[in-house]
Amino acid sequence: MSTAREMGLVTCTACARVWPAGTPECGRCGHRLQSRHAGSLQMVWAFWLTGLLCYIPANIYPMLVTSTLVSTEANTIVGGAVEIARHGEIAIAAIVLIASVIIPVAKFIAIAYLAVSVQRGRVHGAHGKMHLYEIVEFIGRWSMIDVFVVAILSALVQLSVVASIHPGSAALTFALSVIFTMLSARSFDTRLIWDAHVPHGQTAAPLPPSPGTE
């Protein structure tokens, strides 16, 4: 095998063009060139933690406040999904639960798992971990559904005293949580997985060579 780093080259992660090691920025697309993103894992963890800190209030405080003639009702994310399910719309309730609870939680676990396994320095099953990363990148945006629902309803349901809907503070913290976890996943340099990859039958991984000086 021959990676760009082993060949004294550096790959542009934006356009895939290859340059001699030490080239500061890609001559084709202008992206900064780094053999491995310095501080990739620190960025991943910083965004991960910020996302998690936003996710906690997002589940405690109301997402949506519905005021009608007779009552005012505040629903959290999970409460809102339960409410939908009680109306018999199981499929829609499932969409909300998957998008707002299962995907974010699974994403926190998956990113942490990838970061920790790279930090340990030895990765078994790099293909599986690469797939996991691709899934995390693909599904992250779908968590935004509930935020959009809140924005839509708050603009639409403004029927004077008959009924009105207002966003709760969880709408903001949840949106921030989704954005920070997307940034966390995007900060992850997948080349680190392959550097630490231990091929089948090999017990000890050679330490990856130190990155080229820039």
Partner: protein, 230 residues
């Protein structure tokens, strides 16, 4: 999963090798000699499975047409109502511009700003950048000014344009207040459904490596070699 690229030998002398002929896998760092795959085939990284080149001949025209369609639909959808509500003789219909201006209370304004950014502004900006980059190439002209920066920005914006997520959001909203009021989809909702489908098709056509190659080719060899650092 046959790689249509040729693995480069690690032992090959690099001194004389032109790195422009190589392609690196952005996901695992493996380097190959870039070779355009035959029609209907894609060049896939042997090591990690990332699609490196998915070139289709003359993909520029379809991407251009689809991008124009998306741009028109996004802008039209922003001004048309996407949902309307009726309850107890009262009615309301909202467009995305209403969403943008609906929250006036404190920090929650950020939610409506973010919504409009992710659903209208960034998708529109992304396809506008693609049109700006690809149109001159298709017309055989020199690349537009800052075409490289524009194309890189368009690629960066991809995960942040969420029109299809919004379509599902409309459907959920419809169900969520079904006991409170009667909701109906407006014309903009169907525009969003259509443009979500078009975006998916258009992204399937697009091969970023081929577009970069086209930009390089259009700028001419003289300029290209002048850009070679070191």
């Amino acid at each position: 999963m046959t790689a249509q690229t040729e693995r480069t030998g690690a032992g090959k002398g690099l001194s004389g090798m032109d790195t422009a002929a190589l392609i690196g896998c952005p996901n695992c760092d493996e380097v190959y000699v870039a070779r355009t795959p035959p029609a209907r085939r894609r060049a896939v990284c042997d090591r990690c499975g990332t699609v490196l080149i998915s070139s289709r001949r003359n993909a520029g025209i379809p991407i251009l047409a689809l991008s124009v369609a998306v741009l028109v639909l996004v802008l039209a959808a922003a001004f048309h109502p996407f949902l309307s509500i009726n309850a107890a003789g009262l009615g309301n219909r909202v467009s995305l511009l209403d969403v943008a201006t609906s929250f006036r209370s404190g920090v929650l304004v950020l939610v409506s700003v973010a919504t409009v950014m992710l659903i209208v502004a960034l998708p529109a900006l992304r396809v506008a950048l693609l049109i700006y980059v690809i149109a001159p190439l298709e017309m055989g002209l020199r690349p537009a000014r800052h075409a490289r920066l524009a194309f890189r920005a368009a690629q960066e914006l991809k995960p942040w344009s969420m029109t299809e997520v919004f379509s599902i959001g409309c459907a959920v909203a419809l169900v969520k207040v079904s006991d409170l009021a009667r909701l109906e989809f407006g014309s903009a909702f169907w525009m969003f459904v259509a443009l979500s489908v078009i975006v998916v098709i258009s992204d399937r056509f697009m091969c970023s490596w081929s577009i970069w190659q086209a930009i390089d080719a259009a700028e001419g060899d003289a300029t290209a070699s002048a850009r070679e650092p070191g």
